[in-house]
Symmetry: C2
Subunit: 209 residues, 2 copies
């Protein structure tokens, strides 16, 4: 039940302060990666960052603010990758969709556990303006891409494709899958099927459970 606002308490002005903030974020990411949200306590973050708990609370007003910052970073990268995928190369729906799906998967490849933990935590976070804007933009890119082609409801299709991709990727990552090319091929097949662009020529990839 998100309700309270989230904004950084103090902006670091000196180099050492920026280093402190960076250390805190790095420590939080490490803890999230290896222990999940339940392991993320402010005292532990401060300890692992080599910083006092007081310093942590000078830059992050609440524990959720740390999570929100990490989530913002992730979304920024995701948006950036999606924009590149949407613009580059041929503009036919099939290849563009394929590239955008690969971009969506890529945003999990670097640190799958971290991404999973952050996304699981998202529903408990009061999102700030930038995070909301990022979400809107990500959705808008999908909608825009699908709008350039004949589709009855691009907005609905964008929603569904994002959900479909997210669901398959999350489950695969959770199951320990790491063959991203294989995964991308399967997700693409479902997405193109949804769009009535069936890919008869595609080979069905082998199992990897």
């Amino acid at each position: 039940m998100p309700s309270a606002p989230i904004s950084p308490r103090k902006t670091p002005r000196q180099a050492r302060a920026r280093a402190t903030v960076a250390a805190i974020e790095e420590a939080a990411a490490h803890i999230l990666t290896h222990g999940g949200v339940d392991a993320l306590t402010t005292n532990l973050v401060a300890a692992r960052a080599g910083v006092s708990i007081g310093s942590l609370y000078q830059y992050f007003p609440t524990k959720e603010a740390i999570l929100a910052e990490l989530l913002r970073k992730l979304r920024r990268e995701h948006l950036h990758d999606l924009e590149r995928a949407a613009q580059q190369g041929g503009d036919d729906l099939r290849s563009t969709t394929t590239r955008m799906i690969r971009a969506s998967i890529a945003h999990h490849t670097e640190a799958p556990e971290l991404a999973r933990a952050l996304e699981a935590a998202e529903s408990h976070l009061p999102l700030d303006a930038e995070s909301e804007a990022l979400k809107t933009q990500i959705s808008a890119i999908w909608t825009a891409t699908l709008s350039t082609h004949a589709l009855p409801d691009p907005s609905q299709a964008a929603f569904d494709l994002a959900a479909l991709t997210h669901g398959m990727v999350t489950r695969a990552v959770q199951a320990g899958e790491r063959d991203w090319d294989n995964l991308a091929a399967r997700v693409t097949r479902a997405a193109l099927g949804y769009l009535h662009l069936c890919t008869q020529d595609d080979h069905q990839p082998t199992q990897q459970p």
Copy 2:
């Protein structure tokens, strides 16, 4: 000296004890539905159930045991619905898949928030034997259904279809969607596309965001 070994979880033998257990489960479901996992505290559950905290711990050794029991119930229903869907009616892949997807959606329709909260909590739970077995059986039904038809890797396809369905349904429920027929049509379209059974005749449903 009667000092019988006390099992961590007592089995209720009298009617009032069964009523107590039922009240606890009902209270837990209510709290999960309206406040999510974070709101679920043992003291609150006991209070809402009109039962003392001590009574609660006579039948549930830990807080997680309550969650596990509710999850077991949900999975049992899901499995039951899936079995019915798999057996009944025509056995061509398209209609069977459609029925099974509808069954998977149905398992969210009765109490969407509860289902969402339980599934979110699942990854934090040490699953017991029955829950594991239920998961295996659910997966097996999908695999068996897909195996009766020409598919290169039924197990992989089962995994992907379940993930795809789960992802789309979860996101739709989260967005407040309640038009299950519309949702079922879209999920089915993606699933049949994945299976290379494109549904050209299907109408694309209207938006509902």
